[in-house]
């Protein structure tokens, strides 16, 4: 594979506390050094003005294979991830059938290898068939390479099952990723319950439905000392609960999604099912609290919850259309727009939540440019301006809530294990129009 030199980029690696302009040298697929390089190179990239980061990690995606390949496959999802700057993703097990056996987990690796885009880590189901009744064969799933456990798409509803899952997984030190939602309280809902849902006459999903399960899970984590990760937090109350749990030393981590930072429930005024997502878009007050949680470290991870749905499904009536939006190919610019541009986070902190933090939650040896690490690298152009056009996405689906937005920043080069797997087009065509 030889030597790759990424010259004179701003190298930001939160795992080592590095933020400086330097050469990054990769040899035979691993990071050799961060520092000046005069030796020969098989590939040189001029990264002046760009950010050189550890390959980004999205620990919450839904690839619909097996079962719903018309919406996404592991190959198309991984291609979308790569184009978004992600070298590793963790895919949720709510496929049909669910990823609840060793073979199913191995199938994910097999398909990802065949596709050859980014790394795809399977998350195993907590319960058999995600039915919430008995634990899946977690040991076998770990053998098959499952990096964590989740019944996402649904919460682990039973407190007893959740407690046992947190206890049982202690022997593997694998996290339980829970989707916090008390289904009793959200049944029939299509959006956040509040002023907007009242005005639109749409059935609501109250914030308290999320917060009750967040607090239950925190209490169970304290009780079991299990490894708890709370998915896609969306309410101010949830952030406060996690903040105080962390203060008390309880082992819990949490993630938020870019759409919960960029949009509010007022988006539903269009009645467009593209804005129907679970947890639902909340209020300005919740958005501010999520950002505050990111700033003070209460929230560890930003993840997309990339949830593709074939176009026909999102043409259904709001109450019949499925929940979910895609996010892999817009995550980076939306994070820049909502967090970097207003000055909430600096690049070091943003990249931390997209690299080493999710790597730690998943217990995978990624998200670092430490010498000797496999060279997963994302070169980010932070300035390039472009207009989001879902028709150009690698994803099979188009349910993107940001179509038509003009944004800044994108992945320019993406390396997986030292191999250049993705390169952005020379210049986004939309940019030329903007210059005029």
């Amino acid at each position: 594979m030889g030597t790759v030199v990424i010259r004179q980029g701003r190298v930001i690696d939160p795992s080592q506390g590095i933020d400086r302009v330097a050469d990054l040298v990769i040899r035979d697929g691993v990071v050799l050094q961060i520092g000046p390089w005069d030796g020969p190179a098989d590939l040189e990239i001029d990264a002046a003005g760009m950010i050189v980061a550890p390959g980004l990690i999205d620990m919450h995606v839904h690839f619909r294979e097996p079962g719903n390949e018309q919406s996404e496959t592991i190959a198309t999802g991984a291609a979308a991830a790569l184009a978004g700057g992600f070298t590793s993703v963790a895919c949720m097990p709510n496929t049909e059938p669910a990823i609840d056996t060793r073979e199913a987990a191995e199938f994910v690796y097999l398909q990802a290898d065949r596709a050859g885009y980014c790394r795809v880590y399977p998350v195993g189901a907590v319960t058999k068939q995600r039915a919430g009744r008995e634990l899946a064969e977690m040991g076998q799933l770990v053998e098959g390479g499952a990096v964590a456990f989740s019944d996402d798409g649904s919460p682990v509803e039973s407190a007893e099952i959740m407690r046992r899952a947190l206890q049982y997984t202690r022997m593997f030190d694998r996290a339980i990723l829970n989707h916090p939602e008390v289904l009793d309280l959200t049944k029939g809902g299509v959006m956040n319950e509040g002023f907007t849902s009242m005005r639109l006459g749409l059935p609501g999903m109250p914030a308290v439905a999320e917060e009750i399960m967040v607090s239950r899970d925190i209490l169970l984590a304290a009780d079991t000392d299990g490894k708890l990760h709370l998915q896609h937090l969306s309410t101010a109350g949830s952030v406060e609960l996690v903040r105080s749990a962390k203060r008390r030393g309880i082992r819990v981590t949490a993630e938020v999604c870019p759409h919960h930072l960029a949009l509010t429930d007022e988006a539903l005024e269009s009645f467009d099912p593209v804005f129907k997502v679970n947890p639902p878009l909340r209020t300005r007050r919740d958005v501010d609290a999520l950002i505050e949680g990111l700033c003070d470290g209460t929230i560890d991870v930003i993840a997309s919850d990339h949830a593709p749905h074939a176009p026909a499904l999102k043409e259904l009536e709001l109450d019949r259309a499925p929940f979910g939006m895609i996010g892999l190919e817009t995550m980076l610019p939306i994070c820049i727009k909502t967090l970097i541009e207003p000055g909430h986070l600096d690049w070091m902190e943003l990249i931390r939540k997209l690299t080493i933090n999710p790597a730690r939650v998943l217990g995978i040896d990624r998200g670092t440019l430490r010498p000797g690490a496999e060279a997963d690298v994302t070169v980010i152009n932070p300035e390039v301006t472009w207009t989001i056009d879902p028709e150009r996405f690698r994803s099979k689906s188009r349910n993107c809530p940001f179509a038509g937005w003009t944004v800044r920043g994108r992945a320019e080069y993406v390396f997986v294990a030292g191999e250049l797997r993705y390169r952005a087009e020379a210049e986004p065509p939309q940019l030329a129009e903007l210059k005029r």
Partner: protein, 324 residues
């Protein structure tokens, strides 16, 4: 055969809307323009010859995804009185071809040369989506728990006709506010025209955030009765509820049922409205529904005039020239 529009139509402000999707986004003068136009058509309906040629050659389709004999018949008759050709489609989700969306269904019908589509659907926002996807005019004839503009317009029209004004009146909306499109549309119209609105029902049927619309919340009907000039008694939307929102129909009736006895606490000239098919014996007694305060039948008559006005205006007619 020109009929002058009664009331203060503003000649400087011309009607430009091609759709009537909700009342939330109408300006007060637009609501008044509809009411004034309806007044003109109301006179037409009292003539022996009830037809005007305003929509001659136009096609009006009633596309109902949720059954409703009353609203559909009212729209049909309104369109016929304007000399339009009318077609009714009642579509149930089971009768839609597999994989066909409501958008496909509407586009197929539109392709037959439709000028105005009157849409009723159980899901909020469906008429709004169709207005974006179709070329023809779209009128919302009720979308889930969201809005039912023509019902509220006919309610307000009836109040104005009986009371002579809207501004300064106190109107009580009684019952299932949470799930009622009629409540929402009434609140918008009444507030825009200057009425004071009280919503009254059990807390499980009244979203707290509704106070942001500058309406008063009350849980005791007996307490508010003496203050109300108008009572609009809403139907319990059993089909839109999750159930368990009140303990029993008997208890609901005991607390909120409008009975002759209870009405004695009300003003002597209280006006009683009840939209659509009421659940007799739940929201109000038969005696009250047919009693001296009730405007239930007048509402039906006025519904026709209001729907004529709406059809006429979205097709490009102007308030002043109505009924010519």
């Amino acid at each position: 055969m020109a009929t002058e529009v009664s009331g203060p139509a503003k000649s400087t402000e011309l009607w430009t809307r091609r759709h009537l999707l909700d009342l939330e986004h109408l300006e007060p003068w637009e609501i008044e323009a509809i009411l004034d136009t309806a007044s003109a058509f109301r006179e037409v309906s009292e003539r022996s010859r009830k037809k005007v040629p305003a929509l001659q050659g136009k096609v009006v389709v009633n596309l109902f995804f949720e059954p409703s004999t009353r609203t559909r018949t009212s729209f049909s008759l309104a369109a016929k009185r304007l000399s339009a050709d009318t077609v009714d489609f009642t579509v149930s989700s089971s009768s839609m071809a597999k994989g066909e969306t409501f958008i496909d269904t509407a586009k197929n019908i539109e392709a037959m040369g439709v000028d105005i589509m009157v849409v009723r659907h159980q899901t909020p926002g469906t008429p709004h989506i169709l207005a974006r996807k179709l070329q023809c005019s779209v009128i919302n004839a009720g979308d889930g728990g969201h809005e039912h503009p023509t019902q509220a317009l006919l309610d307000v029209f009836t109040i104005r006709e009986v009371k002579g004004r809207i501004r300064g009146l106190t109107v009580g909306l009684i019952g299932d506010i949470a799930h009622s499109r009629v409540a929402r549309s009434n609140i918008w119209a009444l507030k825009k025209l200057g009425a004071h609105v009280i919503v009254c029902g059990p807390p499980t049927l009244i979203p707290r955030s509704i106070t942001k619309l500058d309406v008063e919340i009350a849980y005791s009907l007996d307490e508010i009765l003496p203050r109300c000039d108008v009572l609009n008694v809403l139907r319990i939307q059993f089909e839109r509820q999750r159930g368990g929102l009140f303990p029993s129909i008997q208890e609901y009736f005991a607390l909120y049922g409008v009975t002759e006895e209870r009405l004695r606490r009300a003003k002597d000239d209280v006006l009683l409205l009840a939209p659509g098919p009421i659940n007799r014996g739940i929201e109000l007694t038969p005696g009250v529904a047919d009693g001296e305060h009730s405007a239930v039948l007048r509402q039906v008559t006025n519904g026709l005039a209001v729907r004529m006005a709406v059809l006429y205006l979205v097709s490009g007619g102007q308030p002043r020239s109505a009924a010519e």
